[in-house]
C-alpha cells in the first residue's frame, strides 16, 4: 500500500496540484471567481457537452461491437486466436497521427466509402466515434474476455439443467460474474475517450474540441494557465464523480467465483448461431481494425515506381541530411527498452496496489482504488507541465533523466494492471487463503501458492497492456528522448513533419514495423502464459 501511495503522490498528485495552484493563485490571491466566469462562457459549455456525449457514445459503441468479440475470444477455440488477439491490440500502440492517416484513407476523400457509396465521414463525429472503437476494442476484449475465459461454463449449464432458459441462465449466472469487469472496461474506455486528443484534432477538423484539446489550447497556445487550471479542476471532479459512481455499482457485485483454466472453457464453435457470431466478429475486426492498419502497410510498400522495399531499405542507411544520428532501425531497440522498464514499474506498483486493495476494504482504501484511475482521465499536458515545476530539485530533478519516460508511461499502465487483476483477485475464495494460513503458510507463501497461480493470467494480460501503452506513448517520450536515441513513435512523428517522398514512405514503413514489433511482443507474452500455466490445473 505504501509504495503505490508514494508513487502516485510523487508522480501524479504533486505535479497536478502544483500546476493547478500556479494557475489559480496569481500573486498570492486565489482566483476562484474565474470558475463562474469561465464556466459561463458558451464555447466552454459547448466543449464540456461535446466531451461528455461523444465519450458516452464512443463507450456504448465500443461495448456493442467489442463484447461479442470478448465472448468469441473467451469461449471459442480456433486457429490463429493468439495472433488475432495480438492484432486487435496493435491499434493501442499506433501513433495517433498514423491512425488519423489510415482513417482518412478509409472514410475521407477518395477513401473506400467514398468510392463505393460516395460517403465521406471526415470532419464528422462518426469518424471520431469509429476511431475510438478502433483504439479501444482491445480494452474490452482483454479485460472482459480475460475473466470470461476463466468462468466455469458448467455453472451456467447447471442452471439450464435445472430448467432455466438460455437467456435466464446467462443473466443470472454469467452476467453477475462478468459485471465488474464489463464495468471496469466501460470505465476505461470512457476515460480514454473523454480525454481523447489527437483523434479529435485530426478527424474532427477544426469543428470539434474536447476538454482535453481545450486544456492544451489554453496551456500551450494561449498560455492562459488560469483558464487551464479551471478546466483541469472541472475535468478532475467530473472524472472523480464517474469513478465514484462506478465504484458504487461495482462494489456489491464482486463475489468469489469458481475460476478454471481458460483451456477448459474454450471449444470450437458449434451450430449455425455460433458460427454466425464467430463470422460476425471476424468481419467487424477485419473492417474496423485490419483494414485501416492494412492501408498503412500498403503505403509502406507503394513507391513512385510500383511496389517495393525501397523505404525499408532506406531505414538501414543514414538519412541524407544526417538528421537521425543513428540508422532508424535502432529506434526499435530504444522503444523496447523504455517499454520493458515501464512495464516492470507498472507491474510492481499496480500489483502491490491490487494486492492491498483485495485485502482491505475500508473506505480509505476504496477511495485509493478510484484515485489510481485518475491519470487516465486527467490531461497529459497538465501532468507534463506539472512535472516541470515539481520535479526540479535533486534528488528528484528528473526533467532531463531518461527515467521520466517510463515513469510517465507507467502512470497510464498502472490502472490497467489494477483493473485487470482486481476482479480476478477478488474472485479468489477467501477460504482458500484461510486454509493455507491454517496449514501454517506465511501470508507471502499463501499469496504465492493461492493467488499467484490464479492471477498469473491476469498479470500477463496486464503486462501486455502496460507494454503496449508504453510502446506507443508519444507525449512524454518526445520530450525526453535524446536526439541520438529516438523511439519509434518519435521517429515517425519527425519523419511526417518534413516534406519529401522518402520521409513519408519511411514513416509508413516504421509504423508497419511498430505494428509487427507490438504483435510479436504480445504473442511472446501469450506463449509465456500457455507454457507456464500448462499442468497447473
Amino acid at each position: 500500500m505504501v509504495v503505490p501511495v508514494v508513487f502516485f503522490a510523487l508522480f501524479f498528485a504533486w505535479p497536478v496540484v502544483s500546476i493547478v495552484e500556479r494557475g489559480l493563485r496569481v500573486d498570492g490571491a486565489w482566483q476562484f471567481g474565474r470558475f463562474g466566469e469561465t464556466l459561463s462562457r458558451p464555447e466552454i459549455l459547448d466543449v464540456l457537452w461535446f466531451t461528455c456525449w461523444q465519450a458516452l457514445a464512443s463507450t456504448g459503441l465500443t461495448l456493442l461491437i467489442a463484447l461479442p468479440g470478448a465472448y468469441v475470444f473467451a469461449r471459442f477455440d480456433f486457429r490463429g486466436k493468439g495472433l488475432l488477439r495480438a492484432v486487435v491490440t496493435v491499434p493501442f500502440v499506433m501513433p495517433t497521427v498514423m491512425v488519423g492517416t489510415a482513417f482518412l484513407a478509409l472514410v475521407g476523400r477518395g477513401g473506400l466509402l467514398d468510392e463505393l457509396w460516395g460517403l465521406r465521414l471526415d470532419g464528422t463525429v462518426w469518424a471520431i466515434l469509429i476511431a475510438h472503437v478502433f483504439f479501444n476494442y482491445a480494452v474490452v476484449v482483454r479485460t472482459v474476455g480475460g475473466l470470461w475465459a476463466q468462468l466455469d461454463p458448467r455453472q451456467e449449464e447447471a442452471a439450464r439443467v435445472l430448467g432455466a432458459s438460455r437467456w435466464r441462465a446467462w443473466r443470472t449466472v454469467t452476467l453477475p460474474a462478468l459485471a465488474p469487469s464489463v464495468a471496469a472496461a466501460a470505465l476505461m474506455v470512457f476515460l480514454f475517450t473523454a480525454s481523447s486528443f489527437a483523434v479529435v484534432q485530426i478527424l474532427g477538423g477544426s469543428t470539434y474540441s474536447t476538454l482535453e484539446t481545450e486544456i492544451y489550447r489554453q496551456t500551450v497556445v494561449r498560455f492562459d494557465l488560469t483558464t487551464a487550471a479551471v478546466l483541469t479542476m472541472v475535468q478532475f471532479f467530473a472524472v472523480g464523480a464517474v469513478l465514484a459512481v462506478h465504484a458504487r455499482i461495482v462494489r456489491r457485485r464482486e463475489t468469489a467465483l469458481k475460476l478454471v483454466a481458460p483451456e477448459q472453457t474454450a471449444r470450437r464453435p458449434r451450430g449455425l448461431g455460433q458460427w454466425a457470431l464467430f463470422a460476425g466478429v471476424l468481419l467487424s475486426v477485419a473492417l474496423l481494425i485490419v483494414l485501416p492498419l492494412g492501408v498503412l502497410v500498403e503505403r509502406s510498400f507503394a513507391t513512385s515506381h510500383g511496389y517495393g522495399l525501397d523505404y525499408y531499405r532506406a531505414l538501414q542507411t543514414p538519412d541524407p541530411s544526417g538528421t537521425f544520428l543513428v540508422p532508424l532501425l535502432d529506434t526499435i531497440g530504444n522503444s523496447l527498452r523504455y517499454a520493458v522498464v515501464a512495464t516492470l514499474i507498472a507491474l510492481v506498483i499496480g500489483g502491490l496496489a491490487a494486492a492491498a486493495l483485495t485485502r482491505r476494504a475500508g473506505r480509505l482504501v476504496r477511495g485509493f482504488d478510484a484515485l489510481l484511475m485518475l491519470p487516465l482521465g486527467v490531461s497529459a499536458v497538465t501532468v507534463g507541465f506539472g512535472f516541470l515545476i515539481t520535479l526540479d530539485e535533486p534528488p528528484f530533478d528528473l526533467r532531463a533523466s531518461w527515467i521520466l519516460v517510463p515513469l510517465a508511461q507507467a502512470l497510464v499502465g498502472v490502472p490497467f494492471v489494477v483493473r485487470t487483476m482486481l476482479p480476478v483477485l477478488r474472485a479468489v475464495d477467501e477460504r482458500l487463503r484461510e486454509a493455507a494460513a491454517v496449514l501454517g503458510a506465511s501470508p507471502w507463501r499463501a499469496w504465492r501458492e493461492v493467488d499467484l497461480p490464479l492471477v498469473r493470467r491476469a498479470l500477463l494480460i496486464a503486462a501486455g497492456f502496460a507494454f503496449a501503452v508504453s510502446l506507443g506513448e508519444f507525449g512524454a517520450t518526445v520530450f525526453i528522448a535524446r536526439p541520438d536515441s529516438p523511439t519509434l513513435t518519435v521517429a515517425v512523428a519527425r519523419l511526417l513533419g518534413r516534406p519529401g517522398e522518402l520521409n513519408y514512405g519511411q514513416a509508413m514503413a516504421l509504423s508497419t514495423i511498430l505494428m509487427v514489433v507490438c504483435a510479436v511482443s504480445l504473442l511472446l507474452l501469450e506463449r509465456l502464459r500457455t507454457e507456464r500455466t500448462s499442468g497447473e490445473f
Binding site: V2, V6, T323, E393, R498, P499, G500, L502, G505
Partner: protein, 364 residues
Amino acid sequence: MSIKKAAAAALVAALGVTTLAACGTEDVRDAAGKSGAPVPKTVTLVSHDSFNASKEVLAEFTKQTGFTVKVLKSGDAGEAVNKEILTKGSPQGDVFFGVDNTLLSRALDNGIFVPYAAKGLDRVPAEYQLDKEERVTPIDSGDICVNYDKKYFADKKLAPPVTFDDLAKPAYKNLLVVENPERSSPGLGFLLGTAAKFGDDGWQGYWSKLKANGVKTVDSWELAYNQEFSGSAGGKQAKGDRPLVVSYASSPPVEVLYGEPQPKVAPTGVSTGTCFRQTEFAGLLNGAKNPEGGKALIDFLISKRFQEDMPLQMFVNPVAKDAALPELFTRHGVVVEKPETMAPEKIAEKRDPWIQQWSSLVLK
C-alpha cells in the same frame, strides 16, 4: 517475508532507481566539482522538437571549448517557450534555442533570458537583431509561403499564383489549403503575412475573399501537406486535391533531397509574393547552471561551421553573412526578395484578438 517487508523493499528499490537516475545526470557535474574544477563540462541546450545538428558539428564544439552539448527537446515551439517561462529561475538547461518572432515578446516580457552579446554578432545583419538589449541572438530565418504543385498547373496550362491577391482570383478557386493559425505555426505566419500586407483593418476583407474563393482549413501542417496537397508524396497517395498549400520556401529543396530517386527539378514551387519571414533566436537562460558553457554555445551557434550545417538539418537559412548556402538550396530554392514582416511587440499585442476574429470569419 511479509507483505509489508516486501513493500518496503520495493519502495526502497523504486526510490533507488529514481535517485540513481537523477545522479546519472548529475555525476558529470559532481565529478568536476570533486576534482577541484568548478566548471561543469556539460552544457544543456533546450529546444523544440525540430532542432537538429549533425554529430560532427557538435563534436567540433566539444573540441573547441571542452564542453559537451546535451540537447533536450521540449515539445513544439510554443510549448517549449511556455515551459521555459514556467521554470523561470530553475531552468531545464543553459541555453534555449527556437523562440521565433511570433513568440519573442512573450519570452522577453517574462524575463527568461539574461543579456549576452555573442561574439561574431557583427556578421549578422541588423534587420535580424530584434532585441536591442541583446537578450536573444538571431540564429536562423525562414519564409512561410504558399507552395504549388508544378504538375497541376502545367497540366491545366495555368500560371501558378504569385501574390496574395492572386490567391483570391477566380482562376484559383477551391485550390488552396491553409492551416488553422491557432493550432499551427505556418498557419499563424500566413495570417500575419496577410495582416502585414493588407493592414490591421484590411486583412479581414481579404480573408472574406479567400473564403468566397473556397479556401480550406485544416489543423496542422502535416494534414495540409501530406493529405490535402496534391504535390507531395503523401498527398499523392492520399489523393490530395489541393495544388496550393501554406508551407515553407525551403520545402521544394527538401522534396528533392528526399525524392526516391532524387528528381532533377523540384516537383513543387513557391509563390514568392505570399511570404512571411520567421526568425529564430537563442538566449542564455536566467538561472543557468553553466553560464560560461552557455555563452560559448551561443557564440558557436552563429559560427560559420554551425550556420552552414543548419540548412540541411532544419531547412532554414543561416543569418551570418559569411555562411554559404548548400548547393541544394541555391539550385532548387528560391530567393524571397520582399517577405512580409512584423514587429514582435505588435504580434504579441494582436495575435490573440486576430486569431479570434479569424476564427469567427473563416471557420464559422
